[in-house]
Amino acid sequence: MMLYLQLCWSFFQIGLFGIGGGYAALPLIRHQVVELHGWLTMGEFVDVITISQMTPGPIAINAATFVGTRICGLPGAIVATIGCVTPSIIIVLTLAYFYYKYRNLNLIQGVLSGLRPGVVALIASAGLSIILLAFWKDGVFSLLPSDIDFWAVGLFAACLLMLRLRKPNPIYVMLGAGTVGGLIYYFLT
């Protein structure tokens, strides 16, 4: 019972202080899981990051599930996940309540009108870093043709063209890219 509480509390803190999403939570997770409680070794922690990049879902939730399963099986995974999302539920619901109550105020309208282009920029910036990761071997920009993954460039162009012209469900585009790209990378490179 004690262990469940500890798990829940640890991931509650990870959920509470992980502002900025994704990799911002990594040092927090490492502190709680590796340094403080010794639930995972450093090597296993790196594995969790690798697996998180290969599977769907936020890294904090993935870590919660992985650690929870290792320590007390499925109940552990569920308890850790609940701990992880509880701070978000409380804080985001509070903000949502105020947003819908006050969003018609002139000043709030002003704030929001500043936020909107900023959010577009942040999404563009995240997209750029994924493009770097997909096109260049180590995610580092370079003009040398040997450093560029032309299969990825071709795949990207084909997907983008399809999305702009036919407006398909993006999930099918991603699955298609996974299938075609998987065959190319497995057999041709």
């Binding site: 900025g20 999302v85 009108s113 500043g114 920029a121």
Partner: protein, 191 residues
């Protein structure tokens, strides 16, 4: 929202959030464009601008962005029960996948076939984000506001090249927007 919130509605909300979460590789910024496509373009449940506001809230709150965005969409469409439903739908796919994978994770990690498919999917994900960025930039362009463009390029520059903290960037964008409104109000008062 005129839609009657019957069982069918909740099922649709749950299943669409569940699928989005199940196919979202690579973090919060991937799920936002997908949510926008589904709930704004396809279902028409949420307005374009509102989606951007919700994104800003999701980004500046603690926790995983995908979870935060799901809470906001659930709350917007069906109140607190809706929020709990969408959180469940967002958390279940990674919970299931990771539980299965943690049983044989070394084999999964070292599989050449798995990493080949993931590499291919990465190009697809990049294309989906690029597509959404183009559409969203067109929306900013339609407003014909110099401030909008300045914020767009300034925030992009700050986050890409200067690596400024995202929460700080969002804060500054909000302050700039508020300052513009105050300035316009003062000018109007004088005229």
């Amino acid at each position: 929202m005129n839609e009657t919130k019957d069982l069918k509605f909740y099922l649709k909300l749950f299943s669409s959030t569940f699928t989005l979460s199940a196919f979202t590789f690579g973090g919060g910024y991937v799920i936002i464009p997908l949510m926008r496509k589904k709930f704004v373009e396809q279902y028409g449940w949420i307005e374009e601008e509102e989606m951007l506001d919700l994104t800003a809230i999701a980004q500046s709150s603690p926790g995983a962005m995908a979870v935060n965005a799901a809470i906001l969409i659930g709350y917007r469409l069906a109140g607190v029960p809706g929020a709990l439903l969408t959180v469940l739908a967002t958390v279940l796919p990674p919970l299931i996948t990771l539980t299965v994978i943690s049983c044989f994770y070394t084999a999964f990690r070292d599989s050449r076939a798995v990493s080949a498919v993931m590499k291919g999917m990465q190009a697809g994900v990049a294309a989906v984000i690029a597509d959404v960025v183009v559409t969203m930039t067109q929306a900013v362009a339609r407003e014909r506001s110099v401030m909008g463009w300045l914020i767009l390029f300034g925030a992009f520059f700050a986050s890409t090249l200067l690596d400024v903290n995202i929460v700080l960037i969002i804060f500054c964008c909000g302050v700039l927007g508020a300052a513009r409104t105050l300035w316009q109000r003062r000018r109007k008062g004088r005229a």
